[in-house]
Symmetry: C2
Subunit: 174 residues, 2 copies
């Protein structure tokens, strides 16, 4: 499937409500659950999504659209949320993500991007040349990846509790 701006935005605008529906009000045993040392809990994942709103997708799209002499993206800090979420409740983070995502989608829609603009290039610090439509498609797939990760982290907590059903529920071993 090719990237389509309207279809992509349809997914992006649903992510805050999806994450909220999954997580808001859940007991801490779920919110703080991980897949082991150095892996992310649902709480950490929401902080990571927030950091992406602030520093990744729209800021990188701006670099591409400006087509300045230096189109190289600033490297993304995959661990920023470990600092930036400090002292914040999950409810705070969900509100912050909802607000930032709405602002970013308003920016994106306001650009009224043409096919020519969607094919403009920037430079990813590790992946090399990438187009604006690849960046926006990656934003969508990244959201979906973290929704799947959140569900998987939670499911794994019941790896033992499900007994023989482990054979039928591969998510607990993924």
């Amino acid at each position: 499937m090719e990237f389509d701006l309207a279809a992509g935005i349809a997914v992006l605008e649903r992510t805050p409500d999806t994450v909220r529906a999954m997580l808001a009000g859940l007991p801490a045993v779920w919110i703080d659950a991980t897949e082991g040392p150095e892996t992310w809990s649902p709480y950490v994942i929401v902080g990571h999504l927030i950091h992406g709103e602030r520093t990744d997708w729209i800021p990188r799209a701006r670099i591409i659209l400006e087509q300045g002499p230096n189109r190289r993206f600033i490297p993304f800090d995959r661990f920023a949320q470990l600092r930036e979420s400090q002292g914040k409740s999950l409810a705070d983070l969900l509100d912050e993500f909802t607000t930032l995502r709405a602002e970013n989608l308003a920016t994106l829609k306001g650009w009224n991007l043409t096919d020519t603009e969607l094919s403009l290039e920037g430079e990813h610090p590790e992946l090399g040349p990438v187009t604006l439509d690849q960046l926006l498609a990656a934003w969508v797939a990244h959201d979906l990846g973290h929704i799947a990760q959140t569900a998987r982290v939670m499911a794994k907590q019941y790896r033992e509790a499900i007994g023989p059903w482990r054979a039928y529920l591969p998510i607990v071993d993924r």
Copy 2:
């Protein structure tokens, strides 16, 4: 993590809203997307969750709680939704799932299950002896597995569209 009835119910009662937040109103390119022949779209997955509400989790819990002479579960039809969803819109299915899940959780809460009851056994037609708490834990993990699957099916549609980001987004190849 051991199965805890309240924590398990907290996940089960969020699933209808989570699936609705992800899918309601999305373009058909997402709702009907699959991972290839004989694999399930988000639309098919919601139908499968509905069939589970009708024939799997609570009906099997009843068989365990009754402790009759035959505690063997009726085999679950993994393809029933291909018939039963016919003619229904996704919006219909989401409403049906919401209603059935609410009824089933009201039933579950009304039982006020004791630890003794949670350790009673039934017989799975393929997996053999299973306890009630394993069945309920499997219900939770099953929900989470299908939420993750829904996100994965959608993400895979952008396997090519994300270009070089494919290296960083393993969900599109899972």
